[in-house]
Structures are given as structure tokens and as C-alpha cells.
């Protein structure tokens, strides 16, 4: 990923309300400005407790239940992935994997 890709991805988030809300939550809780395709766990700003907090945040904010089989690292690695998970759980999109 290049810096401009990240910029484009972040601009794209403006049209994706789920991603936009997640970016805001992350910025609020970690004081780090992430891009939608950035690996959240690579930078080290995510504590061991915060991973679970993210799960609960998705469930509460978007009215979904994340079942055991969906608690994979890949579903939470990026804002994009979490937004896709939310849409899938809301029944908007079939699971592409």
C-alpha cells in the first residue's frame, strides 16, 4: 500500500458510513488516525483488551452479533474488513470467503 492508496481508501470511507464510524471510534480510543486498509494490529496501538472491545463495539453500534466462527483475525485486521463483516452480518452481502 502507498500513502496515496491509504488516502484514497480513507476518502472512500466518507461514502461508507460503517467504515467512517469505525475510524472515528479508533481515533477516539487509540488517538491514532488509521486508514481503512491499514493493519490495525501491525502498528502496536491495539492492546490485548482492545481487540475484544472492538468486537463488542461492532455488536453494539451496528446491532449485530458476531458468532464464534466469525471471530477471526482477518475479520478485524482492517477497518475495511470490519465494515464488510458488519454488512455480512446485517445480511447485506453474502460471505465471499
Amino acid at each position: 500500500m502507498t500513502a496515496s492508496d491509504g488516502q484514497l481508501a480513507t476518502e472512500a470511507a466518507a461514502t461508507d458510513p460503517v467504515a467512517e464510524r469505525l475510524l472515528r471510534f479508533l481515533a477516539d480510543r487509540t488517538k491514532i488516525e488509521y486508514t481503512t486498509d491499514e493493519d490495525l494490529f501491525a502498528r502496536g496501538g491495539i492492546s490485548s483488551l482492545f481487540a475484544m472491545e472492538l468486537v463488542l463495539h461492532l455488536e453494539q453500534q451496528f446491532g449485530v452479533a458476531v458468532p464464534g466462527p466469525e471471530l477471526t483475525m482477518d475479520n478485524f485486521r482492517t477497518v475495511q474488513a470490519m465494515a464488510a463483516l458488519v454488512r455480512r452480518l446485517q445480511g447485506g452481502e453474502p460471505n465471499s470467503s
Binding site: 490485548s48 481487540a51 475484544m52 463488542l56 464464534g68
Partner: protein
Amino acid sequence: MTESLWQATRLVTEAVGAHADSWDRRGRLPDAVVRDLSRRGLLAAQIPAEYGGLGLSSRDNGEFTAHVGSLCSSLRSLMTSQGMAAWTLQRLAGAGQQAAFLPKLAGGKLAGVAFSEPSAGSDLSAIRTEIRTDGDAVVVQGEKVWVTGAAYADLLVVFGSYREGAGVVIVPTATPGVRIHRVADPLGCRAAGHADVRLDEVRLPADHLLSASGAPLAMLVTAALTYGRISVAWGCVGMLRACLAASIRHTSVRVQFGKPLAEHQLVARHLGELAAAAQVATLICEHASRCWDEARSDLVTAAVLAKHVAARNATQGAAAAVQLLASAGARDSHPVARAYRDAKLMEIIEGSTEICQLLLAEHALAGSR
């Protein structure tokens, strides 16, 4: 108080009666008592009704847990394990696994949760227990220590490494290759059935591996421990209430230097601090349970905070109670003497005081960068 909470409280009060001291001395809870409480859904009272459970809220189960903790910390400790096993299934299992195992935990079976190992206590990333799939089976190899309730358990919820992350597997204790050795002389919660567990090439049907397996260890462990921490915290509230009640009873009637102990200022200070410790622990547990019942994302930190504050208050409060009752509370299994020993264990399990401090510091730092 809801009807089911009232019923639960009455049932467990009858079951414990005046036996907690002798259960502590013997280091055993009667099998019939714990089986009966499990069968009534009282050991994991938040299991939803659709699985045969009582479906209590975290707040109601918290008050119930505090009540049990005020009577017998060994039994409360067993409740923490059973409830944590149930919650692990609710959070990390697939629908079929939940349907298969949750009714057992509300229907007479007993469960323990196995995290710690000889070389992995606070640092669970060092766990060596290995979970691997082999054809249509899952195989577990490893060694667990200090598993609460394992001496009574029919099922163990075992955490281990799995593929690139961690796994959780349900191990019936009757499976070949499972060996359980009771910890002979625990400092506290002496009747809670702490045991070391050897798992020697234990082969199980693949559906015993919980669906979330493969996720990062921290995520899986945090999910399970969040329940455990709130449960331990409410148990500490119960210990504090019992210590306060015993201290008030004793200092109100015991006369020294011509007046009741409670009228001596140095004694009154202890009583005031003990009442404050109990009230603070209650409020912080109520907050954590509110986060749980409202499914708030700050639950995870609230649970660490509740456990940390309540456990430390309980060790300090129990020490004060022993001081106040002096020789009257200095017999080994007297309620305040039990609380003195039991509370210290609460500063060790489900994340030691120091681990809680690190987690809270990490949280504070993340919020202020």
C-alpha cells in the same frame, strides 16, 4: 429483586446452611449439593432460558454471586468457573456446540476452565498445550495447573495453541488420556476443587473444538476472563459484606475498657473503612454489570477495574475484620479467617493485581496519547 433471584438466593442459603466452615476444613463440597445446584441452573445463572438456564442479567447474577460469596467462597469459586465455561461457549462456540453443551451446564454437569500451565501463569502467551486436528478428530496434548473445580468437573474448557493462533476445546474428563490431581492444600477457597490436569494425546470428536479457534489468544482469553473477572469481583463484594457484618456484630457487644469496642475510635475507623471498601466494591461491580447488560464496549476494561478494586478491597477488608474480631475470629475456618485466606487468592486469579494494574495503565495511556 426479581422472583428468580429471590428463589436462587433462598435455595443456595438452604444448601449452604451452616456448613461452609466444615466444607473448608474438609476441603470438599458435598457432591450432591453441587450437582443439585448445577441441575437447578444456579452455578451458571446467566445461561439463557432457551438452553435450560435461568437467564439472569449480569446485575442479578452479580447480586446472587455476592450472596454466595458471603456464605462460602469455595462454592462461589465453582460458580465462577461454571459461569465462565458457559460464557466461553456463548461467546466462542458455534450454534450447534452451544446447543450440545450449554444445557449440560444448566442441567447437573460441572465444568472447569483451564488456562494456567507450569510455565504460563500471567504470561499466557507461553502456553504449550497443543490442540491439533487429525482427520475427523481433535487431539490435545499438554499440562494445566490450578484449574478451579477440575476435581469435580465432567467437562473442561481447555485453552491451547492452535494453528497460527489459539484454540479452545471441550474435554470431557472421562476421556482416555485425561488425568486429574487435586491440589492438596490450597491457601484459600479450599473446597473449590483446584487440580492439576494432564492431557496426554486426548482424542475428541472435531466438533469439540470451539468455532472461534484460530483467533488470537488474547481475544479468546479476554472473552472468557471478562465473565470470570466480574464474577470474582462480585464474590469479593460478598466477602466484604460478610466481614462487615461479623465485625459489626462483634464490636457492638464485646466490651473492653468499660465500653463496646465499636465506641473506641481506632476500632470505629476500621469499621468505617470496611464499610467504605464494601460500598466501593459494590458500586464498581454494579457499573461493570451495567456495561455487560447494556452490551457496552467498555465492559472489558470495566471488568478488569471491578476485579482489581474488589479483590484488593477484600484482602484489606478481611485483614481488618480478623484484626477486629481478634481471638474470636482467629480459628482457621471462622468466616473472617476464611475470608482472609480466600481474598488473597482473589488477588491472584483471573489476572493478578499487578496484571490488572498493567492493563489499566495500558488503557489509560492509550486514551491520552
